[in-house]
Each structure stands twice: as structure tokens, then as C-alpha cells.
Amino acid sequence: MKKVLVSGLTAAGLILTATASLSAPVKAPPAAPAAAPALAASLAPAEKLRLQEQLEGDGRIQALSGPRTLGALVSIGGRKIQLPADAFIAKFVVGIDCMPGGPCPDELPFLILARGQSQVWVGPRTGRIFHERTAPGHDQAFAFLREVTQP
């Protein structure tokens, strides 16, 4: 009995659904709302240079890597850490084309920190060390990271 009732209701629902637009008591509306914005634009060379000068003049440009990050305050593994004065962010990597057998971090972005001839690849979100290469005699080049990183 219950099955019959359910079937009957389902059939009625289907009919009502199929005929909804026919039996609707209000005059059908017109065309759909207008288009939403899309994108794409390009700048002429002169515009580009003008905008660059404006942005740099406004002080809105921030270096993510290079010598300007010597001794910078960085966030690694959820903690802030001050780089030594002779260490800096060599690269703020957002994509990598890995070599077979080479380091291949699965966390992006990752940082390549440099100190002298040594470097370490570290994931800023997790604090994981993906690769470390220290110069002879500088095994402790990145000892300052130990508190915030994991191997």
C-alpha cells in the first residue's frame, strides 16, 4: 500500500513538474539578466612603464627574495623566525620541474634560503626541509631553523 502511494505521488509530481511552466499563473518573464564581467586586457608599453613608475613611487612593491631579504623576518611552520644577517630568501618558488632523483617538494610555495654557499629548501607552511646543501665546514649554516622545521 505504501509503495503504491509513493508511486502515485511520484507520478503526480512528475506530471506537475512537466507541466509547471504550462500551468504557471504568471506571465513568463523576459530575457535573462545581462552579462557578468569577463577579463583580459593588455597595456601599451608607455602605459606599462607609467604604471610601473607609479607603483614603485608609491612604495607598493615588496621584494620576496634577493639581497633585500637579508635578515628578514619569515614565517616557517607557523612561527616567525628572524634570519641571520647573512642569510636571505634566495627564491620564493611557486613551480618546479623536477629532475628524476632530484629534490621534488610537494609543498608550494617553498623557500630556498641561502647563507654563503649553502642553501636549504624549506616549506613555509609545514616547516619541512626538502633539500639541504651545505658548504664544506658550514654544516651548521641552518641550525637556526631547527626549532621551527622538521626533516
Binding site: L9, A12, G13, L16, T17, A20, S21, S23, A24, V26, A28, P29, A32, P33, A35, A36, P37, A38, L39, A40, A41, S42, L43, P45, K48, L49, L51, Q52, Q54, L55, R60, I61, Q62, A63, L64, S65, G66, V74, S75, K91, F92, V93, V94, G95, I96, D97, C98, M99, P100, G102, P103, C104, D106, L108, P109, P124, R125, F130, H131, R133
Partner: protein, 319 residues
């Protein structure tokens, strides 16, 4: 697509973007949305999505390459440009380039791409990429597809494509993820990386910058549920969200009742990852409106940027 409508679309889109994003983001295209801690301290970093890019605003890319990489870069750029229509320009100097391509044969990878400078965008309370650099290893064991493919791969990142199109967390630790489909965004250690962008890459970029849409957007209603039920195909290659706008016909105009983001990302390990049927139900009771005509419009949403083509469903009577 004929040239004239395309140009018209470009102009209209440029104007819309200037209004939406301000002059800052009209310059570059890749938003830094990785980690709020890396946002400039003045900005809260609302674009906080791990491993996703926001590609929008200016689609022009000015490149500069070191001499040994000039030929490979020119070819890689030409392949992207001819296939997608994106405007690339050779910058007159390294200092004026959006993307600098350099060689380093000590690099322990075939190539990497990094952000070197970001610019604050008050309009979005976030930073966007001001300058990027790709470093290419140009000697030793060659990657699948050759060095030029590595340059094309890194350019792919800069214009908004992900490594192998994988989701976060679906690769094995320490190993390159290889998409089973042929794509320039596969690592150079993957067997199926082509020499130049594949149809998958080209379609994806075109979706990103031009034609991404909610395919077969259809609404229906049921007497049982008093709801508007909407279905559509992803049509945006798996990694977008979609923004849906619910409209109600008030007798004089379509009145917007709600807008929601719907995650369409399926992940490349599902066979239908780029063409999945998606659904959303809007119960009429949630909006306090009487029975009447309802419909949904929307477009693919690529992390806070409306891209692609606006589509509307049919309208349905909701009891």
C-alpha cells in the same frame, strides 16, 4: 570566434576589470594567494588559498631571457601565443620584464619559477605578482620534451596553470605527479610531456581567459520539494569554483536573491575531472518568496575573479 567580437569582448572586459580591480591589478595577473604570512603586513591576505593562482587583470606578459635561452623562449612564447591568443611581448630590458628567464646549470631541477616581487593591491586587500623569474637548467640530462618544453612549462605556471593539474595533496611525497593526459604542465620527468602545449593546456588557458562557462545550465523544479534544482557540466576543466546567482521574477524584473560559490574542483584522478555534472538546489523557503519563476545564472569563478562566459538557465516555476 571572429576577430571583431573578440576585440569587443576584450575592450569590454578591460573596462570591467579596471572598474573592479583598480589600476594596480590591471598591470599583472597572478595573485599571491598562498599564505597570509607572506602578504605584505598592510594587507590581510584574503586571497588565502594554497596552491592556487588568480589569473586575471592584464593578460599581457612581457618577457626577457638571457641570451642562451632566447631562441627556446621565443619558440615557447610563440607556441603559447599562437594557440591561445594571449599577448606576449619581448621586454626592452630585464628591468621592465614581468617574467625574466635565466639559466643556471647548478639548479637541482629542470626548471623553477619564482615570484620575486609583489605589489600591494588595496582593491583586493592582497598582493599580486609584480615580477616573476624562471630559472632553467640548460645542460646535462634533458627533460622529456626538451629544454624548450621546460620554458613553456614555467610560462604555463606564470599564466595560471598548476603542476600537472593536480589537486593539493594528491601527489606522492617527493615524486613528480604525472597527469595521465598529455600536458606541458607535467614534469620533465613524466613520460607524457609534449614539446609544446597540448590541446588540454590550450583549452584550459582559453577557458581561463576567455570562454570558460557552465555548460548545459538547466533548472527544474519539483512539486515535492518547492525548490529550484540546477544542473550543469563543469566546462571549466575541473579547477574552478562556479559563482551562481539565484533570480526571482517579481512581476517586473529579475530580482537577485542570492549568490553562492560552488566548488567544481574534482581532481585529475577522477576520469571525468574536467566534465563532471554538478548540481545545486535552492529551496524556496530559504528566501521567503512566494511561488513563482526562478532561474540561475553564473560563470566559472577562478578564485575571486569572474572569468569566462556568463550563462543563464531556463526559468522554472517553483511551487
Amino acid at each position: 570566434m571572429t576577430r571583431r567580437p573578440f576585440l569587443t569582448t576584450l575592450v569590454a572586459a578591460a573596462m570591467a576589470l579596471m572598474l573592479l580591480a583598480g589600476t594596480g591589478s590591471a598591470h599583472h595577473f597572478t595573485y599571491l594567494g598562498e599564505d597570509p604570512d607572506f602578504q605584505d603586513g598592510r594587507w590581510s591576505g584574503v586571497e588565502n588559498y594554497a596552491f592556487y593562482w588568480w589569473s586575471a587583470a592584464s593578460s599581457s606578459l612581457w618577457w626577457w631571457a638571457e641570451s642562451d635561452l632566447q631562441t627556446g623562449t621565443q619558440t615557447a612564447v610563440a607556441n603559447w601565443q599562437s594557440a591561445t591568443g594571449l599577448p606576449f611581448y619581448k621586454a626592452p630590458s630585464r628591468a621592465t620584464a614581468d617574467l625574466v628567464i635565466v639559466e643556471n646549470n647548478d639548479l637541482e631541477a629542470f626548471g623553477i619559477v619564482e615570484l620575486t616581487e609583489v605589489a600591494a593591491d588595496p582593491g583586493r586587500d592582497a598582493n599580486y605578482t609584480y615580477r616573476a623569474q624562471a630559472t632553467i637548467r640548460n645542460s646535462g640530462e634533458a627533460p622529456v620534451g626538451g629544454w624548450q618544453a621546460t620554458i613553456a612549462h614555467e610560462i604555463g605556471h606564470v599564466i595560471g596553470l598548476h603542476e600537472g593539474y593536480q589537486d593539493a595533496n594528491n601527489e606522492e611525497e617527493g615524486e613528480a605527479f604525472c597527469n595521465p593526459q598529455s600536458t606541458i604542465m607535467n614534469s620533465g620527468s613524466c613520460a607524457n610531456r609534449p614539446e609544446k602545449p597540448s590541446s588540454l593546456d590550450i583549452n584550459r588557458v582559453i577557458n581561463l581567459y576567455q570562454t570558460g562557462e557552465m555548460l548545459n545550465l538547466t533548472s527544474s523544479s519539483s512539486w515535492f520539494t518547492n525548490s529550484l534544482h540546477v544542473t550543469w557540466q563543469d566546462g571549466a576543466w575541473g579547477e574552478y569554483e562556479h559563482r551562481l546567482y539565484l533570480y526571482y521574477w517579481d512581476g517586473a524584473k529579475w530580482a537577485m536573491l542570492d549568490h553562492v560559490s560552488h566548488t567544481a574542483q574534482t581532481g585529475t584522478r577522477e576520469s571525468n575531472w574536467n566534465n563532471r555534472t554538478l548540481t545545486r538546489t535552492f529551496p524556496r523557503s530559504a528566501y521567503g518568496k512566494p511561488a513563482g519563476y526562478y532561474m540561475v545564472c553564473g560563470y566559472p569563478l577562478f578564485r575571486h575573479g569572474g572569468v569566462g562566459t556568463w550563462r543563464c538557465s531556463n526559468y522554472s516555476w517553483v511551487y
